[in-house]
Amino acid sequence: MPARVGPLGLVLHSAAGGIGSVLVAVTLLAVTIGPWLSSHEADGFDMAGAFQPSSARHWLGTDQMGRDLLVRIMAGGRLSLLVGLGTVLLGIGVGVPLGLVSGGAGGKLDAVIMRGVDILLAIPALIVALAVIAVIGPGALNITLAIGLRSIPIYARIVRAEVIGLTARDFIQGARALGARPGRILWRHLLPNLAGSVVAISGLRMATGILTAASLTFLGLGVPAGEAEWGAMINEAKQYIRVHSHLVTYPGVAIMLSVLGFNLVGDALQDAINPRIRARIRSTGTN
């Protein structure tokens, strides 16, 4: 008889989940040590030593102000992850319930919510960002808000679409007919099926969030200039791309790896939530 497999085991059992967990752990570790290092090294300004290639002293070389690139990448992770995760959580936290209500209730409520979503999508992100900074000022949290506002409609519409599709299907009708309460339908039937789509796009939204934050940083919104943040680093290094491409590539790789880590873990989690897969793992011990 195979042993009972707990959630952690479910995550780790797949190769993807394992790699993902390692990546997340490494990212979180690097990002926590980063600020500790940043007080001296990330600000290690040295014009004479700018644009140096990889060396024993600077593993990834130096940037346009002579600062160690690796240290800046580690220091920058904290803000980037904050913004990336923040926009995803905002999108899920507000978008998913909106989508559920909209898709589930239908009628006038659906119309009002969807028109609100349309409005959020129609106003260009740049204007929203400029307005946000004009009203509540710059800052990492405010930029997260400005970008999160764009994420909400996406989650809302996808979830709503799924709900519409799912509620029409037989097993939901069946559960209803059997007198199941809406809460139970939500928990046991809808959410596990929704999780797939939500997780699928969350990883992507995280990466998009970080990059969008970068493109808005140039407005003076978000992180103070010069402070390490992956997106901002890419933006500042854009013009050096033909001469010193590593200044763009390494932060880009950092974004990719950390997003990948969270994403793989999310995928494995999705498998864990999916009742059929969970059952299969328990019975056969493998996936």
Binding site: S14, I119, A122, P124, I164, G196
Partner: protein, 308 residues
């Protein structure tokens, strides 16, 4: 059905009104003065004040808004502060260019994304699947200017296969469309994969020992239909997003699209152009979402019975 359409049209108008008022207010709350932009290095407070007056910016906001709404209703979107040309004349060719880029890249993204997503779902858990997952993430994590630049340098310049940038021939569409598609494919890949995994789980396993290709094909078709709903939603969202113009790709490839025009207008505080572009964009966005909603009913007949 007619009642439904009528109600959607009403909603469209109300939404447009709200958007117009919001954008109007937002633009005027942002620091920065179009008159200062015009005056430039020769700005003096007197000159700036007189230019503002000439632009009608000194009137009370409510009056400005009322006049604008009145003009819009008669089809007059005003004249650009920057160029002096009518806004409608300015927007139309830029919109066509954006439409071309949008449709081309969506075509690539949907076809490519679906094929790859199917492949990933069929080989789920194995190396190909993981490779596709990682690859699709790379597609979104890579900044689009980087993708565009790589394509320009290697395909356009070194291999000399395609023109680098500009808007002079159909060939000029290829590289920018590819760049945009790379950004949009990952979501489609993952949604197709996620949706397929659902159905393939049960049915595919059951027919694993089924004889012949035909039954598997039936299963695939059934599975793909379930994927259609989220994919169509995403296509709608992408269409909406792209129709507003993809600023980065348009800048890098010197593509004369709406996104660049909007950015330039915002940076010059060219209010009429910004307001006009947002209006145009909103109309298409809302109509697209409307079309998508109708699609749900077509894709899955069961949905038609969903209470509306």
């Amino acid at each position: 059905m007619l009642g439904y359409i009528a109600s959607r049209v009403l909603q469209l108008l109300v939404t447009l009104l709200v958007i117009t008022v919001l954008v109007f207010a937002m633009l005027r709350s942002i620091p920065g003065d179009p008159a200062m932009v015009i005056a430039g290095t020769e700005a003096t407070p007197e000159l700036v004040a007189r230019i503002r007056e000439g632009l009608g910016l000194e009137r009370p906001l409510a009056v400005q808004l009322a006049r604008y709404l009145g003009d819009v209703l008669t089809g007059d979107l005003g004249r650009s502060i920057r160029t002096g040309a009518p806004v409608t004349a300015e927007m139309y060719p830029r919109f066509v260019a954006t439409l071309q880029l949008t449709l081309a890249s969506l075509l690539v993204a949907v076809l490519g994304g679906t094929l790859v997503g199917v492949a990933a779902a069929l080989h789920r858990g194995r190396l190909a699947d993981t490779a596709i997952l990682i690859g699709s993430l790379a597609g979104t994590s890579a900044p689009s200017f980087w993708v565009g630049l790589v394509l320009m340098i290697y395909i356009g310049f070194q291999a000399n296969l395609l023109p680098i940038a500009g808007y002079d021939s159909a060939l000029h569409l290829v590289l920018p469309a590819l760049t945009v598609a790379v950004g949009g494919m990952p979501m489609i890949i993952r949604l197709v994969r996620a949706a397929l995994m659902e159905t393939l789980e049960e049915d595919y396993v059951r027919t694993a020992r089924a004889k012949g290709l035909r039954e598997r094909a039936v299963v695939m078709k059934h599975a793909l239909r379930n994927a259609l709903v989220p994919v169509v939603t995403v296509v709608g969202l992408e269409l909406g997003r792209l129709l507003g113009g993809v600023v980065v790709v348009e800048s890098v490839f010197a593509w004369p699209g709406l996104g660049r025009m909007l950015l330039e207008a915002i940076q010059a505080r060219d209010f009429p152009v910004v307001q006009g572009s947002v209006l145009l964009f909103s109309v298409f966005l809302i109509l697209t979402n409307f079309a998508i909603d109708l699609c749900y009913g077509v894709i899955d007949p069961r949905i038609r019975h969903h209470a509306r």
